[in-house]
């Protein structure tokens, strides 16, 4: 068994370290799991594939879980996906049940995480087997579907589509790669830029800029006024946590985890969508939802199980189709490429050992997250008090390492970081959507190759509709996603109170 040789103390130590660092990032408001992965990326350069994956998955799971800490204690979600945890967590904490609320969230989180890991384990290989048969036509349509789904679920559909197309446009800057069957000619740039942009902008510096530097700039603009933690609630005393609080919550746990996993599988749909949907479903379907919003454990259960279920869900399209499910997996795609892994339909079949190790790492990360948070929650809660004037300069420093080392020492990659950091700030101000933008950026080059090669092979545009039943089915899905988005908008316009709820 080759796998067993990789299960070293180092492997599990890195998962634990990643989970802990992730929890800390998640627990600091404004810092996310994506940022944790981006900042710690340079550490993985030194490790091999297996250990690198261990660290990255630990960071991912920890980062999503840590968000509940400030959500419960100071009513500020640490990550966007813990927004609904504040609804019941903070009222509970105000009643002196902060520790109980957090432990309910921790147990729900580990359930959601393991549930989605199981779905990933059984579903990703099936999807990959199916996707292996895809030709360039279907692959192009899959990317088109992914971008349509992302854009249609944005708060502003027009801006979502524009952001996605802008991402694709940015990815095309550079030469049309000869290795991909292109002619090696430059496009979308001036002559003086050719020296720097032969291969276009590197993916990871772009992502690190958008998620690291942009966050710093957005906070710098506010002048760190809300840095002082106000109204923080002590964890000492209060009602004790008991597992019997989960009695009658199995349906809620399974439904919310299912929703989280499903939303995770849809590419580019943010974490907040999963927890908001799971929370509203619990409110609609539970026998007694009268206490929800006033400090009911069932609200925390639905919120936290759904947001942790995102992790396994978001890895499904990444590992089976090569399409990232959210912003964190977008960075993971870059990290995997760096380790020499090409994620896509062939990944699982060709790297069976890595696939199993990944599953072990994901399950271990969830279990370790539970252990660390359940027993050390009082210490972790102190993290939210670490001032940003200490943290942010260090984050920029680590961003530099990540960007510079990615191509073994290219200073232009560091400038890319600054360019996209400022671009991210401007994008935020003018209402561009970051997630469709980066997914468009990641998939843009592949979309070009699939599109152009399809036309070169068949010479007729109708091939995109008539190639196979799968192609026709993908068009149906694209139409359904657009129609669904329009339906949601019309319904919300008619019943504005539903938007608020």
């Amino acid at each position: 068994m080759d796998i067993l040789s990789h299960l070293t103390p180092m492997f599990f130590g890195l998962i634990a370290a990643g989970t802990l660092i992730g929890i800390i990032f998640g627990a600091i408001p404004g810092m996310t799991a994506t940022m944790a992965v981006a900042v710690c990326l340079p550490l993985t350069y030194a490790f091999g594939l297996e250990n690198g994956i261990a660290l990255l998955l630990g960071l991912y799971v920890g980062g999503i879980s840590g968000g509940m800490v400030p959500a419960v204690l100071i009513n500020i979600p640490g990550t966007p996906s813990s927004i609904t945890t504040t609804f019941d967590g903070y009222p509970m904490a105000k009643r002196g049940e902060g520790e109980r609320a957090l432990k309910i969230g921790i147990v729900a989180s580990v359930f959601g995480g393991l549930f989605s890991a199981a779905v990933l384990f059984f579903f990703a290989p099936v999807l990959a087997d199916f996707a292996i048969k895809f030709s360039y036509v279907e692959k192009f349509l899959i990317i088109l579907l992914a971008l349509t789904v992302i854009a249609s679920l944005c708060s502003n559909m027009l801006m979502g589509i524009f952001s996605g197309v802008l991402g694709v446009w940015l990815s095309l800057i550079g030469t049309y790669s000869i290795t991909e069957g292109g002619n090696g000619e430059p496009r979308l740039m001036f002559d003086f830029m050719q020296y720097y942009l032969v291969d276009g902008f590197s993916l990871l510096p772009v992502l690190i800029g958008l998620f690291g530097l942009t966050t710093v700039l957005l906070d710098a603009e506010k002048g760190f006024k809300d840095d002082a933690v106000q109204g923080k609630i002590s964890l000492k005393g209060g009602a004790k946590f008991r597992f019997n609080v989960f009695k009658g919550q199995l349906l809620n746990l399974v439904r919310s985890s299912g929703i989280g996993t499903l939303i995770g599988i849809l590419p580019g749909v943010g974490g907040s969508a999963a927890s908001v949907l799971a929370y509203s479903q619990e409110k609609n379907f539970s026998r007694d939802s009268s206490q929800m919003g006033k400090g009911a454990p069932q609200g925390i259960v639905s919120s936290e199980s759904s947001n942790n279920a995102l992790t396994g869900g978001a890895l499904v399209p990444l590992l089976s189709l090569g399409i990232p499910g959210d912003s964190t997996t977008a960075i993971l795609i870059g990290a995997f490429t760096l380790q020499g892994i090409q994620v896509g339909p062939l990944f699982i079949g060709n790297n069976l050992d890595t696939w199993y190790l990944m599953m072990i790492a994901l399950v271990a990360a969830n279990v370790l997250m539970f252990g660390i948070m359940y027993f050390a929650i009082r210490h972790i809660a102190k993290v939210i008090e670490v001032p940003k004037f200490i943290l942010y300069p260090l984050i920029i420093m680590m961003c530099v390492v990540g960007a510079y080392a990615i191509n073994y020492g290219i200073m232009f990659d560091v400038w890319t970081l600054l360019i996209f950091g400022v671009f991210g700030w401007v994008a935020h101000k003018v209402g561009l959507e970051t997630v469709p933008l980066i997914i468009g950026f990641i998939l843009g080059k592949s979309a070009e190759v699939y599109f152009v090669k399809s036309i070169e092979s068949y010479g007729n545009l109708t091939i995109f509709f008539t190639k196979s039943p799968i192609a026709a089915f993908l068009w149906v899905l694209i139409a359904v996603s657009v129609a669904f988005a329009i339906y949601l908008r019309v319904r919300n316009r008619r019943r504005p109170e539903e938007i608020e709820s």
């Binding site: 700039l217 420093m397 200073m411």
Partner: protein, 147 residues
Amino acid sequence: MESHWLSMFDVTIDFDQSHLFFPRIVTTILVGLLLVIVVTRFRMIAPAIKRAGRVLVGSEGAFDHKRFFGTLALTTAYFYLMGVLSDVFPNTGYSFLIMSVIFVFLLSLLYVDHLTRRLFVILVLNALIAPALAWYVLAELFRITLP
């Protein structure tokens, strides 16, 4: 008849120009979408630009100019000087170490609200220890390329 109808969708791509085929389509869609955005929000754009201008020059809104532009200026200087210094100490990571110490200290100083003597000591120690630790672990232990 049917083949004649289908031939309307025939497309041939000249290999020499194939690098421009997809970018042209994407650029067209992008410009089209931009026009739709401008047309549908025409009334909102001019006031928004005016307001943004007033915020940037400081006559309106809560925009921390010192910290925002300070961050931009320090980060630009940090990247530029790191590049210059890395030619003096190539492949050692010393440029990263030296510039990071200065950058971390100055940026923390820019961000801190009420500077006390104790806080000053913490900032100095943080600026010395954190970059040194990062440099040692990454450049020395892990042999990662640093500027």
